[in-house]
């Protein structure tokens, strides 16, 4: 019970700090910038604010690392998708395509 209260107080304090600090954003606001940050689409000032939040927030730091790894895994798992070509293209499909051309 006491530890739950402690955790609650810590979160309340963190929320208060993020909302009150100069040029700081909350974690919820941070979320809106993630894609643009990773694609270099933020202004210098926005990037500085984003990175300032990252330095102070463990949860967002770890979240971003896991998010990045997710994208890496997704892209690597499907790299060169055209190499995964089905070998069994049915002849009747080829014939149907060619017949349709004649019509």
């Amino acid at each position: 019970m006491a530890s739950r209260n402690k955790a609650g107080i810590r979160r309340w304090l963190k929320g208060l700090m993020l909302r009150r600090m100069h040029r700081m954003i909350t974690c919820k606001e941070f979320e809106d910038f993630v894609l643009d940050y990773l694609e270099g689409g933020l202004s210098d000032r926005q990037r500085a604010t984003f990175e300032w939040h990252l330095r102070l927030c463990r949860e967002c730091r770890e979240y971003l690392a896991a998010y990045r790894r997710t994208v890496e895994i997704e892209q690597a798992a499907f790299a060169s998708p055209d190499k995964a070509v089905p070998r069994d293209v049915p002849d009747d499909l080829i014939k149907a395509v060619l017949d349709a051309r004649k019509r």
């Binding site: 690392a65 895994i73 055209d82 499909l93 349709a100 051309r101």
Partner: protein, 200 residues
């Protein structure tokens, strides 16, 4: 509804058959394999993919006379195949936006992120070495509704940029970005057992 891709212009290309059944058959045999695979990745159904590829070739043959080789024939056919496959998805009403909230990041009432501590983050190489893990990645992508899966497919896997995806899907660029981010965040949640090293 995205615009029908216009045939590439500029210098005439020897890649495109001008006339004759033999040329057409050569073109079909050369490209149908990867076009079918592409369409099947989008539609997740072999039968529908075969229909879409037939329609893609019909579109291609109609536009071929005007094909002049501004981009490669393959790039042009790729776009036509994506369009034909997306048209099928639309006809099946599978592109409507579905709720994805259960997979999205959570925040408390103070707008602080709720994220369990990460004591382990699986290295990329480890995740890709295992066929089991690869299968899990495919399953996770399949678990997303089509409206989110398709933006990941087009952007992260097929290599289209935000503007191109916006044109293909007929939605704004900002909507594409929102969907890409949400889809990736949802994918992260679905892949967490792998990322945390709980599945090997």
């Amino acid at each position: 509804m995205p615009d029908e891709p216009s045939p590439p212009k500029a210098a005439a290309s020897a890649q495109a058959p001008r006339n004759g059944t033999a040329d057409a058959e050569q073109l079909v045999r050369k490209h149908i394999g990867w076009m079918l695979a592409l369409s099947e990745r989008i539609l997740r159904d072999r039968g529908l993919a075969e229909d879409a590829v037939q329609e893609a070739f019909a579109d291609a043959f109609r536009g071929l006379e005007r094909f002049e080789g501004r981009s490669s024939l393959k790039t042009w056919l790729h776009r036509i195949t994506v369009n034909a496959s997306l048209t099928k998805l639309r006809q099946l009403k599978r592109l409507a936006e579905q709720p994805i909230d259960e997979y999205l990041p959570e925040f408390d009432q103070y707008e602080c992120r709720i994220e369990a501590p990460w004591t382990h983050l699986t290295p990329l190489e480890d995740a890709l070495e295992s066929e089991v893990l690869r299968a899990r990645v495919s399953e996770a992508i399949e678990a997303l509704s089509d409206s989110y899966r398709i933006v990941l497919q087009l952007r992260d896997i097929e290599g289209y940029n935000t503007k191109e995806v916006s044109a293909l899907l007929g939605i704004s660029e900002s909507n594409v970005k929102v969907r890409v981010h949400r889809a990736r965040a949802a994918l992260k949640k679905l892949l967490e057992p792998i990322l945390r090293g709980e599945v090997r």
